[in-house]
């Protein structure tokens, strides 16, 4: 069984596996054929379940016609907020604290981005926190 098969099998249960599947669909790894549209879809779904990294990373390589930059910024805000809450982070680091505070206060967080972030948080916040295991 190759990595891609394992990722596909576990993507439904593990958001982080769906995020990794998205990476492999974008970059072509683990025996997975490149499929950018599917990569975006899986990355977006993984983000809605708490694994935001793949969407933000893949979006760096995409054009505006492929993904809304405001949506990416909104997910960047959500990731920073989650890390600030201690959810799904790799621990407490001064540089993370600084980066996250800077992200949340950035002038890139336009009213549109802020509204989108709030919309996503309202729609997926509970699912995200539950998926990450930081709600109780």
């Amino acid at each position: 069984m190759v990595t891609g098969d394992l990722l596909r099998q576990s993507a439904d249960r593990l958001p982080i596996a769906e995020g990794a599947l998205a990476y492999c669909e974008y970059y072509g790894c683990g025996g997975i054929t490149i499929d950018v549209a599917s990569a975006i879809e899986h990355a977006r779904d993984a983000a809605r379940r708490g694994s935001v990294d793949s969407l933000i990373d893949i979006a760096l390589h995409l054009q505006e016609s492929q993904i809304d930059p405001d949506a990416v910024s909104a997910w960047t805000v959500i990731r920073a907020s989650l890390q600030q809450q201690g959810c799904g982070s790799n621990g407490f680091r001064v540089d993370w604290l600084q980066q996250n505070a800077a992200t949340l206060a950035s002038n890139r967080v336009t009213p549109q981005v802020r509204a989108l972030a709030e919309e996503y948080w309202q729609a997926y916040g509970a699912q995200i926190r539950s998926g990450l295991g930081c709600s109780y």
């Binding site: 069984m1 990595t3 394992l6 990722l7 099998q9 576990s10 249960r13 593990l14 982080i16 596996a17 995020g19 990794a20 990476y23 990294d53 990373d57 805000v77 959500i78 907020s81 600030q84 809450q85 201690g86 959810c87 799904g88 982070s89 790799n90 621990g91 407490f92 680091r93 001064v94 604290l97 600084q98 505070a101 949340l104 802020r114 972030a117 709030e118 948080w121 309202q122 916040g125 509970a126 926190r129 990450l132 295991g133 930081c134 109780y136």
Partner: protein
């Protein structure tokens, strides 16, 4: 059989995705946190507000824009850190709650009893905790050094942030010390790994990490 295969695939996926993300985001990995263990209630977002002008939110849901109290963030951190592995090994949310905000000795004693009674999920979870936390857990001395290092790092921050950061790290370290003590009181690592290995011989998904225990034991011999 299918369940075993799916379980094996999930465990393998955890290891693969863990390695994948560790590779993409290399960080020093601290572990878990508390001094006196009691459930830390999620502070309602309105009373958490440290920043004026916080936007609307659901009742009880945390705000996107406000940092929670440090001990709450520390609990989120340790709960999400445990949940992402322990859930896949079959741990209940109640057990994860107990392990991250309840009485650790009680939780581990219950887990050990279930494992000794042959509960496969309990064996997997016990094996993981025995190896990952009880065998590989950082000593009090190392934890003290880590906290001192982090506190020194925090001097780069504004005073209010430095205080928050130091308190979060302290809660994190205190929990690790509490877990170390609970391990010493409750867990016999070799015994736990024997249970895991016995399950592995029956084809349980635990076989995927059973060799880790065997290797560790060999290293100490």
């Amino acid at each position: 059989m299918t369940k075993r295969l799916v379980g094996g695939a999930l465990l393998a996926a955890i290891l693969i995705t863990g390695a994948f993300f560790a590779w993409r985001h290399p960080v020093t990995q601290p572990t878990l946190p508390s001094e006196t263990l009691h459930v830390i209630p999620e502070q309602p977002a309105a009373s958490e507000a440290a920043t004026p002008g916080v936007s609307h939110q659901n009742a009880g849901a945390p705000s996107l824009w406000v940092r929670p109290r440090p001990e709450v963030a520390a609990r989120h951190y340790r709960r999400s850190g445990m949940a992402w592995v322990l859930r896949q090994l079959g741990a209940s949310e109640r057990f994860i709650d107990q392990m991250t905000g309840g009485d650790l000795v009680v939780a581990l004693n219950q887990l050990k009893a279930q494992a000794q009674a042959g509960d496969p999920a309990a064996i997997n979870v016990l094996g993981w905790i025995a190896h990952q936390d009880c065998r590989l857990g950082r000593t009090s001395e190392v934890l003290d050094q880590y906290e001192a290092w982090q506190t020194a790092n925090a001097k780069a921050l504004a005073p209010v942030d430095a205080d928050w950061f130091a308190a979060a790290v302290h809660a994190d370290v205190a929990f690790d010390k509490e877990l170390n003590l609970a391990c010493q009181q409750v867990i016999d690592v070799d015994q736990a790994m024997e249970l895991v290995e016995a399950r592995a011989k029956q084809g349980d998904a635990a076989r995927i990490y059973a060799p880790i225990g065997q290797r560790s034991r060999l290293c100490r011999q």
